[in-house]
Symmetry: C2
Subunit: 215 residues, 2 copies
């Protein structure tokens, strides 16, 4: 947020609102049609701005796509803000799992993960896109890892459990589960992937009695 604020300080509040409108229109079109299937003219028309306005805020399509990646990163992580950084109990993990599944059902399992979809389309096209997406997934993973590390440090996870490895595996379960959920049009794959991981994490927890003895 801080970085975005610095980048945007040259724009007025009205200018920022226009910029946001362009990014939101671009994000929606790109999520529906892909980057290659979306022209800046279509974004301009969908946002209801002129070409000169669009190019005032984004010097080219690449700048616009990077803004869309940043926007989708904030949207995807924002929707989980209540949980990321706080997944430090089986209960919190289960409630987060329920949120992800509920979101997919509300979307009729259409569209997949905006970040995963963008990754598959643009990761090999422009190096900067991949780097932006790598940063997005790193933030997401960090939000998962923090809680697992806390559980480990408090002795709630077995000493030989590796919270960092579990965090990567959980994020992979989310991404793979979302992809299969999109293709199959049912939330079952996401549920199966997450429930299996949560069961595994549960199997690595230390029973309360032993936990007290250890501390």
């Amino acid at each position: 947020m801080k970085k975005a604020a610095i980048e945007n300080r040259r724009f007025t509040a009205k200018g920022l609102a226009t910029r946001d409108r362009i990014v939101e229109a671009a994000a929606r079109l790109i999520h529906e049609r892909g980057v290659a299937g979306t022209t800046t003219e279509e974004v301009r028309d969908a946002a209801g701005v002129s070409s000169s306005q669009l190019y005032h805020y984004f010097e080219d399509k690449m700048a616009l796509v990077r803004a869309v990646i940043a926007h989708q990163t904030d949207a995807v992580l924002g929707a989980q803000a209540e949980f990321l950084g706080r997944l430090d109990s089986l209960d919190a993990l289960r409630r987060w799992r329920n949120l992800l599944v509920r979101n997919q059902r509300a979307l009729h399992c259409e569209g997949g993960c905006p970040l995963g979809t963008l990754s598959s389309e643009v990761a090999e096209v422009v190096p900067e896109f991949r780097i932006d997406l790598n940063r997005a997934f790193a933030r997401w993973e960090e939000g998962i890892r923090a809680g697992l590390r806390a559980m480990h440090e408090r002795g709630e996870l077995r000493r030989d459990a590796d919270p960092d490895r579990l965090a990567t595996a959980l994020l992979a379960a989310v991404q793979g589960g979302l992809l299969l959920t999109q293709i199959r049009r049912t939330s079952k794959p996401l549920e199966n992937a997450l429930d299996t991981m949560l069961e595994h994490i549960a199997s690595l927890t230390v029973p309360m009695r032993q936990r007290r003895r250890a501390s």
Copy 2:
């Protein structure tokens, strides 16, 4: 294979070779640039055929993309043919895991899964594409599930383990692991995702002594 043979019976051997050349060129270009970023003219030139030859085999771009999906399905599943349908031991699962990791390293972790990438790009564009991809993933999952079911039936997996759910979770781990591996340019995420799943499956196996007693 049977269906393809019926569809292609009107072509001579030479005709089939030409058709294959077109599909391979299309698959390569699409994997590099995406469906929207690839024109039939580019495929025609890359395959070294004329427009009339291309349209003799594929009436439109949609037909060509469906042939590419079929081609990539055979390529992805073919590369694992030694394992799919035979993943009925921890040893087989580990060797399969090693194959997938080795493949990514050989590709410098570039490109991701051809089926996953296609899915993200075209699943929402044309319903037939999603249906074809759904069938591809179903075949892949079936190849994973068969072995886990065999382990379960032989009493090697605990009675309360669900081999079908584990198979979906394993395929999700592969897909999510491949996506993160592509974005991070290291095979670590795929290794973490698969090793976590394999560890979980190992934790659900029944010790040999109890197994004998049960039978």
